[in-house]
Amino acid sequence: MNTELIITIEGLKKHFPMGNSRFTALNGIDLIFGKGEFAGIIGPSGSGKTTLLNIIGTLDAPSEGKAVILGHSADNLSARESAALRKSQLGFIFQTYNLFQVYTVFENVEFPLLLQGIETSRRRQMVLDALDWVGLSDKIRSKPAQLSGGESQRVAIARAMVKRPAIVLADEPTANLDAENSHHILQTMEKLNRELNTTFIFATHDEKVIGYVRRKIFLLDGKVAKDELIERN
């Protein structure tokens, strides 16, 4: 593991109200992530994977405990501060791609850079670079509806990576893809991880993804059941 810590989670609990009682999705999580990790949070449905990912992504706040993301405590961030952190340092990849259907591929990838106010010519070059990473340079004018599932997810990866974030959070990124496309996507992300030293954290129960990650964190009933490092070349 790299020595530079970018995520520290201590005693993290997350409760959701459920009628008159509450449901505990995360029940005392302690984890640290270093820069450049390629880690998977693995577990069955309802184990708390997505909740943990949302807290790391500052989309949700802990009920108890501490989650420090890139030096920012997730429970103390204002809406504006957490948005600024997501805008500059965090990338998201979703199971259903979540591309903007009315935008072209270029415009989808350009979106995070527009939010950052990057000037036009630099923005264009960054978008073209990102599409080159994922092998979609020839699709810049296509609309998401004209793409296959694999291509759509590669656009989502380009959108997540275009701003060169410190952390990319991928929630079940291969769940809607066939085996061939899944491997292609995972190889792309692995390549980006190695070349740009971006930290990738997956929430998954897909064996194909598990086969690629270099760290497996098993969640069960909101707790870390196992945390193991895998040596890969």
Binding site: A83, R86, K87, F92, N98, V102, L114
Partner: protein, 390 residues
């Protein structure tokens, strides 16, 4: 600026849905401007016609004259004041003597107002020259509405009865020397115009008049002897009040049109927020605050009005310009309305009217867009990302 760029991109990307709203909204723009333009055109035309046919630059009224009370006519006459004779050339004032009378067209009696006017006057558009043809017959002119109601035509003769200043009835035959077409019922309906000197003889009122139409504003001599000067503001106040009343009907039409357009925008906004939950969640995940997303959706809704103004301009400018030049045929005559109204109406579209309408519609559209968009501020982004309806 980014919000505007994204909003425009979203709107144009939405395709048909956007254009349907834009077209409905553009109809509202055009109809609002059109109805207001007609009222303004009517207002302007009615005033111009009244000035040309009835009022000129103002009128002196005899102190006892009340146009709404015919019983005052017997007492409403006096000599032309010296001040007027001294300060204005003869061509700049037209004395008119007014009395009650009746005619007997086709054997039936018809009450009317008899007005005496100098045949040589040029101040008003009334074709009074035909009143002086050199014969001993009394020549008269009537308006088209009067001709229709009395069934009289040019060249016809009719018996006219009146009472002189002493109350003695007398009668004579007059000839209809001309029928004029005017939009001003006040010089047409229920009246006959004869030469002033003839009427003075008939009434035994030499040198007297009931009103004096002037070619100049005489407000500085507002009261002289038995005469009170009525300026344009006063004389046009009735028509202004009527047009204002008609204007309130226009406001109701605007309101309905605006409401229809706003319903379309509101509906689109509500539907957008309902259908685009996942997109909203993605915006937040990519670094927008919920406030920024509310702003984006509000601008998106408001931009419908910007596009509608552009689309409306494409077909509205030629359409409204054509109408302003060619006019609109009005199927009803002025006598049906009782106020000055041309058979052809020329709408007037001022810059203020167009800019004001666009501004109001944009403002209302923005408010209507903001209202449902506030819901976004309460959305949970993690639920929104999954596309769960909240």
């Amino acid at each position: 600026m980014i919000a505007f760029k994204l909003a425009l991109r979203n709107l144009l990307g939405a395709g048909l849905r956007t254009w349907l709203n834009v077209i409905v909204l553009s109809f509202s723009f055009i109809i609002i401007i059109w109805t207001k333009g007609i009222l303004e055109g009517w207002d302007r035309e009615a005033k111009q016609d009244m000035i040309k046919w009835e009022i000129a630059s103002g009128q002196y009224w005899n102190r006892n004259f009340d146009p709404y009370d015919p019983l005052t006519l017997t007492e409403s006459h006096s000599s032309i004041p010296d001040l007027l004779k001294n300060s204005l050339p003869d061509s700049e004032f037209v004395p008119v003597l007014i009395t009650q009378g009746s005619i007997y067209p086709e054997g039936r009696m018809m009450s009317l107002i008899i007005k005496g006017i100098p045949p040589g006057q040029k101040l008003l558009d009334l074709p009074t020259a035909v009143l002086d043809n050199g014969s001993d017959e009394i020549q008269s002119i009537i308006g088209k509405a009067m001709a229709e109601s009395s069934k009289l035509d040019e060249g016809d003769y009719v018996t006219l009865r009146w009472r002189d200043k002493n109350g003695t009835f007398d009668a004579t035959e007059i000839r209809i020397a001309g029928v004029f077409d005017t939009n001003v019922p006040a010089v047409d309906v229920g009246q006959v115009w004869i030469p002033l000197e003839k009427l003075r003889e008939m009434m035994l009122l030499p040198g007297e008049a009931t009103i004096i139409v002037t070619g100049k504003d005489m407000s500085q001599y507002s009261v002289t002897d038995d005469w009170i000067f009525k300026d344009l503001d006063f004389l046009l106040s009735d028509i202004e009040n009527i047009i204002k009343a008609k204007g309130s009907v226009g406001i109701i039409i605007w309101g309905i049109m605006l409401m229809m357009a706003m319903l379309a925008v509101f509906d689109t906004q509500v539907l957008s927020i309902f259908r685009r939950q996942k997109e909203i969640g993605t915006y937040v995940a990519l670094g927008m605050t919920r406030g920024q997303v509310v702003k984006l959706f509000t601008i998106e809704g408001a931009m419908h009005s910007v596009l509608a103004a552009a689309v409306g301009a494409v077909y509205g400018i030629p359409l409204l310009t054509l109408q302003a030049i060619k006019g609109i045929n009005i199927p009803l005559s002025s006598s049906d309305f009782g106020i000055a109204m041309a058979e052809k109406l020329y709408p007037v579209y001022s810059i203020g009217l167009i800019a004001g309408t666009i501004l109001i519609v944009m403002l209302v559209t923005t408010l209507v867009s903001y209202w449902p968009s506030r819901k976004i501020a309460r959305l949970n982004p993690t639920e929104a990302l999954r596309g769960r309806i909240q």
